[in-house]
């Protein structure tokens, strides 16, 4: 049961092959048995899960169930859940219980999904390896010595190891796609504004976007149907009509124009990863797609631009964690300054502090024009590259990451860690939708293919990803230890 996709589970529940409660018990048991090694969950919500499962079973019995009713789900611990701890992977929020639900949480609750728990993540979503979590690193189910990627590492590893059929993630610079690639699952980052950010603890507000980590593109489409749409609580969510993302999955890709950005195949890309990507492109060619090589000439500016914009916004977003109203407060503060300095000094980890410092510096008087303002201009150039590209092609394809999952502790130098997001970051700066799908394995380590779509064209993206998954089965691979 645990290996099934959401689509298969939905059919099984509908046909009453098993109940939601039985299904939920299976996952809770697997978490209890297997998560010690992986550390994918920060909080497991057993009681709530069983309660929700029973409620779902009632709905199924009464024939009032939707397609997602009774399907278990893991939420990244960045989405606020009323009455359940939301830690954001930080000591700062170790015991924080939000008084409200994030819009995403409400949406899945209303759809009748069952919350299994809250997944591990890099602290405040800052990291590419899940090693910055206050609650400890997460292991990659394909090779426990390697990282699952980050920041949505807990969600990715949980889905890969079948400790949840599907999970949410958030993506600010690749935090859904990179861990999806490392863990061999499918991860969708929607267009900026497609999904509400309300209740999703902010890292970099102009880049953050919630999304889905699943076994297949089909599953992503099913969840996106519930998750997408305008939210009056989020001014940056788009008032653009949503589509039925499941309906268009089966369109043929014949005649599709696929762009290959030459910069994504240049120096720095691991040769074997490159071969897997080439092979995937061949599959699309076989299905009748047309391959067009093109250039996104400002690609090299993406990482430096991102590391001004994201820290600048984070330095401001994280100011609210001051020990005054909620969250970690230091012992016996001497005075107000001491309260601030020690609460923040003790409550935040190194990577968070590093980014707050970078961001504060970039926004400071005298540096603002040279850093923040310049970064905003570069951001526009990067977006323009994509706009030009989409005049020629329907979708862009390339590797999600330059290499497969690296060993824990291997990238102790922050810059080398930052460079592992080289292919994903530009997408966030431009606000485009993208998906990572598994297209091979090198020495049992998964390789991800990234497909980048035009604004609000998730339907096309999911369709193209799904078509690949109908003729291949890389997405069905499950690590041996977690069969």
């Amino acid at each position: 049961m645990h290996k099934k996709t959401v689509a298969e589970l939905s059919a099984g529940l509908k046909a009453k092959e098993f109940s939601s409660e039985e299904l939920t018990q299976v996952f809770l048991q697997r978490i209890a048995d297997l998560d010690k090694e992986l550390n994918t969950y920060i909080t497991v919500t057993e009681e709530q899960a069983i309660y929700q499962a029973k409620k779902a079973d009632k709905k199924i019995a009464e024939n009032t169930a939707g397609t997602l009713t009774g399907i278990p789900l893991a939420q990244k611990d960045i989405f606020c859940t009323q009455g359940v701890k939301t830690t954001c992977g930080s000591k700062m929020l170790e015991n924080f219980v939000a008084p409200y639900d994030a819009t995403t949480v409400t949406q899945f609750n209303n759809a009748g999904m069952v919350l299994l728990g809250k997944t591990n993540m890099d602290e405040f979503a800052m990291g590419s390896s899940n090693e910055s979590s206050y609650f400890g690193a997460v292991s990659n189910p394909w090779d426990l010595a390697t990282v699952p990627g980050g920041s949505s590492g807990g969600s990715a590893a949980a889905v890969a190891a079948c400790l949840a059929p599907v999970a949410t993630g958030t993506d600010t610079g690749g935090s859904i796609r990179q861990p999806a690639a490392f863990c061999g699952i499918t991860g969708l980052k929607p267009t900026y504004g497609r999904v509400s950010r309300y209740g999703m603890i902010a890292f970099a507000s102009s880049l953050d976007q919630g999304g889905i980590m699943a076994r297949s593109a089909e599953d992503c489409a099913m969840l996106l149907n519930t998750m997408a749409g305008f939210d009056e609580k989020d001014s940056t969510s788009a008032k653009i009509a949503t589509e039925n993302y499941s309906q268009s999955l089966h369109s043929k890709v014949e005649g599709l124009k696929i762009g290959l950005p030459q910069e994504y195949f240049a120096e720095g890309l691991d040769a074997q990863v490159g071969q897997c990507i080439e092979a995937a492109i061949k599959e699309y060619e076989k299905m009748g797609a047309k391959i067009i090589e093109l250039s996104l000439e400002n690609t090299s500016l993406a990482v430096p631009t991102y590391y001004i914009v994201a820290p600048a916004e984070c330095s401001s977003n994280l100011s609210r964690f001051d020990g005054v109203r909620y969250g970690y407060r230091c012992q016996d503060p001497k005075d107000l300054t001491d309260l601030y300095l020690r609460s923040r000094g003790e409550g935040f980890g190194d990577e968070v502090k590093r980014r707050i410092l970078i961001g504060t510096y970039a926004l400071s008087a005298g540096y603002y024009d040279a850093y923040y303002l310049k970064a905003q201009k570069l951001r526009q150039l990067i977006s323009n590259d994509f706009t030009q590209a989409f005049k020629q092609v329907d979708v862009l394809i390339g590797p999600t990451t330059p290499d497969v999952a690296f060993k824990k502790g291997e990238k102790s130098d922050p810059v080398s860690m930052y460079l592992s997001d080289i292919y994903t970051i530009a997408v966030n700066l431009a606000g485009l939708p993208a998906i990572s799908i598994p297209v091979g394995r090198i020495k049992n380590k998964p390789v991800g293919l990234q497909l980048i779509g035009n604004y609000f064209n998730e339907a096309k993206l999911l369709n193209i990803a799904h078509q690949y998954q109908t003729i291949t089965d890389w997405h069905r691979g499950i690590p041996e230890k977690f069969q």
């Binding site: 940056t236 909620y326 504060t360 923040y372």
Partner: protein
């Protein structure tokens, strides 16, 4: 040396919305601490601001009223600093692209002429909460009810050259926002407060002197005292060859002095940047026109109309239109009694004297417009004299009756217009004062007033003065 004073004001006026600028929480004043602060006002993790559209309309209203440029595209920015009553660690404000650009108003100067005061900009922002230092031994309490209250910050050009001009400007803005109905202007509740930038320079010098900023002055009386104190302080320093330190100073109303709050060296770098949680505010010409159509008559236009329609002097018209309530009061009375001059005299005389004495506003005056009109009506139809009318007014103010007629009846104040009755009194007075009669008839014509006074006294002020005059003249001359 002769010094020139240069003053610029930053006025924070609270906009009269039901809910906060970025959340649905109520803005009602005076609730129990922290009962009007929702998750958004508390700066909980993950919450997002949503702009209250009413504040945009109100800001546009103000901009149109001061003949300012309305930005077709304005941006909210974050002003970053740490303070316990600032929940997010930043205040959402506007920085580079404010909603209202360059505009101006006119103030009335002491000699009656008008002076143009430039307004650099007006921008929208949220208020912070309140730190409470009393009642918490060695600790500070925080009340976030105020957090997120919408403010319009109105920044003037350094165009004022005296305390009187600064006060006139502040009063004019106060009047304007209340005319527009965008703020209740309640100073006690902090809905209208002001920071003053003050500097001195030798008369004739172009370059501005070093300025100090006086923070958070919340009454017309205090602003006068605070600025005067600060001018004196700066002048003393400059006259003795000292230099002014650029700093923020706090006015202490109890001690009537200003003292430094923080100097520029420790000034915050606010690290402003556009708030990525909010979209830019776009205002189309259509929207601007719609708001323009809905604007009420503004103080300057009303003043001009009062001059034209009621033949009032500029200064009377100005005084009557300073606030909308007084102007309405005046027009109600005038329409009833059809005597614009009489009602102006009474409102600027008795009514405003009583209001000042009791520190009341015209809306809470015990004598409302219709009631005053009733009194004045009785002057006009000769039921009472002007002097008796003051007695009626005083009685009515004290609550001794709701209508002029009731008080006149109760107190027997009705004017004596029966000629034979007056004649009787006149005769008695002439008989009783033979010496004065002789002196008058011998040429001391000034004594006429003595006889009038005696008759009025004998009639307890009720004899019709015109008839008294006529009869006395007839009998004595």
């Amino acid at each position: 040396m002769e010094w020139e004073v240069v003053i610029g004001l930053e006025i924070h006026t609270q906009l009269a919305t039901k809910s906060k600028i970025f959340s649905g929480a109520s803005t009602t004043y005076g609730a129990e601490p922290n009962t009007q602060a929702c998750a958004i006002d508390l700066g909980m993790p993950g919450v997002l601001p949503v702009l209250n559209k009413d504040v945009v309309n109100m800001a546009v209203c103000f901009g149109l009223a001061i003949d300012a440029e309305i930005a077709p595209y304005s941006v909210f920015a974050r002003k970053n600093y740490f303070y316990p009553d600032l929940p997010k660690g930043y205040q959402i404000s506007q920085f580079e692209l404010p909603i209202v650009g360059l505009g101006h108003i006119f103030i009335e100067q002491e000699d009656g002429s008008k002076k143009r005061i430039g307004i650099t900009r007006a921008h929208l922002e949220e208020d912070a909460g309140k730190s409470l230092h009393e009642d918490f031994h060695g600790k500070t309490g925080i009340d976030l009810n105020r957090a997120g209250t919408p403010l319009l910050e109105i920044v003037s050009e350094p165009d004022m050259r005296s305390t009187a001009e600064a006060v006139a400007y502040m009063k004019k803005i106060h009047s304007l926002v209340r005319y527009l109905g965008i703020s209740d202007g309640n100073m006690q509740e902090g809905s209208f407060r002001c920071d003053a930038n003050i500097s001195l320079r030798p008369k004739g010098q172009e370059e501005l002197g070093t300025r100090t900023e006086l923070k958070n002055i919340n009454s017309f009386r205090f602003i006068e005292k605070a600025i005067n104190y600060e001018i004196e302080r700066q002048m003393d320093i400059l006259e003795t060859g000292g230099v002014i330190t650029q700093e923020t100073r706090l006015y202490d109303a109890n001690k009537n002095e200003t003292r430094p709050m923080r100097s520029k060296e420790e000034a915050n770098d606010y690290r402003y940047f556009p708030d990525p949680d909010l979209l830019p505010v776009e205002i189309t010409d259509e929207c601007k026109e719609k708001i323009r159509q809905s604007l009420p008559e503004l103080p300057d236009a009303k003043q001009q109309r009062f001059v034209n329609e009621y033949q009032l002097s500029d200064s009377d018209a100005n005084a009557l239109t300073l606030n909308k309530e007084t102007a309405n009061y005046y027009e109600t009375v005038t329409k009833k009694i059809k005597d614009p001059k009489l009602s102006a005299n009474w409102i600027l005389g008795e009514v405003s004297a009583y209001l000042n004495k009791e520190n009341k506003s015209i809306t809470t005056a015990p004598i409302q417009a219709e009631m005053l009109a009733g009194i004045l009506q009785r002057i006009k139809d000769n039921t009472i004299s002007g002097k008796i009318a003051k007695e009626v007014f005083d009685a009515m103010w004290k609550g001794e009756g709701n209508t002029a007629d009731a008080i006149i009846d109760k107190k027997g104040l009705k004017q004596i217009t029966d000629n034979s009755a007056i004649e009787g009194i006149v005769d008695t007075i002439i008989t009783d004062n033979p010496n004065e009669v002789a002196a008058y008839q011998g040429g001391k014509k000034k004594l006429f007033g003595f006889f009038v006074g005696q008759v009025m006294k004998a009639s307890k002020g009720k004899a019709n003065p015109a008839q008294v005059n006529a009869l006395l003249k007839q009998k004595l001359d």
